[in-house]
């Protein structure tokens, strides 16, 4: 069967891709998408651990549920902010929203 490591490696790669997205993308929405990837990797981790390491106590799964929920809420909030910014500046590029620095 598929061993635990596979899932961990997969989530690791997924997470790193998400990180890359956050680091590389200019558009706020894209950054958010990348964050979503990272969160997915996280919940995948949790579930995998839960299932493989402590069956019965489902802690990890509950964690995953919460992570997904928080992620959703976060996206909602973040997008609201992005839209607000876009209204004021008509751009959603994070590196253009850099009037405050140094």
């Amino acid at each position: 069967m598929v061993p635990l490591e596979n899932y961990l490696v997969l989530s690791g790669i997924l997470f790193s891709l998400g990180v890359y997205g956050v680091l590389a993308r200019r558009n706020a929405v894209l950054v958010l998408m990348s964050v979503e990837l990272m969160l997915n990797a996280v919940s995948l981790n949790f579930v995998a651990f839960a299932v493989y390491l402590d069956p019965g106590r489902a802690t990890g799964i509950v964690f995953a549920v919460f992570v997904i929920a928080v992620a959703a809420a976060e996206v909602g909030l973040a997008l609201a902010i992005v839209i607000r910014l876009f209204r004021n500046r008509s751009t959603a590029n994070v590196d253009e929203a850099a009037t405050m620095r140094w």
Binding site: V2, M33, A69
Partner: protein
């Protein structure tokens, strides 16, 4: 046997689509890729025999989140005309470097660690009952807090996004 093959196919799919999310040139494509990769992760949950999470994944992500994102794309007039501006910033290479380093670390961690209690065998099914039990009994407190949190997010989203005189 077949499950393994399938798993590998899906794994590759997930990674590929995820790569698509962070690499594709137009925003809309990224969004599409995101949906796919989320779905792929959902499939992974099925492999892990926790249908509940898979369900949640499909509903919340596949549904709400992606819709939200697409909506946001529309509102911020992204990709509609596919504004011909680079979607990837100047520091991408450094990002790639760091991300690779991180990936190496995490993969190494995943592989090199002897996970305590790892039976090396197949995942054991976790019943909805157990989950419900844990969620509402033991983890009642976080659950309540979570409720407040969602309320906050809800209020906040409104407060921030609401039209006002002045804009």
């Amino acid at each position: 046997m077949t499950t393994e093959v399938l798993w590998w196919i899906f794994a590759v799919g997930v990674v590929g689509t995820a790569a698509g999310v962070v690499l594709s040139r137009t925003v809309v494509h990224s969004a599409i890729f995101l949906i796919l990769s989320l779905a792929g992760v959902g499939a992974m949950y099925l492999f892990l025999t926790v249908e509940f999470i898979a369900l949640v994944q499909f509903l919340i992500y596949g549904g709400a989140v992606t819709v939200l994102i697409l909506l946001a794309l529309m509102l911020t007039r992204m990709g509609v005309a596919g504004r011909p501006e680079p979607v990837t910033g100047a520091q991408a290479p450094f990002g790639a470097l760091v991300a690779l380093a991180l990936m190496a670390t995490l993969v190494a961690v995943a592989v090199a660690t002897a996970w305590p209690g790892d039976l090396g065998g197949s995942p054991e099914a976790v019943s909805i009952e157990q989950i419900g039990e844990a969620l509402f009994e033991h983890y009642g407190a976080p659950f309540i807090i979570m409720a407040v949190l969602l309320l906050v997010a809800f209020i906040g989203a409104i407060a921030i996004a609401r039209q006002e005189d002045g804009d």
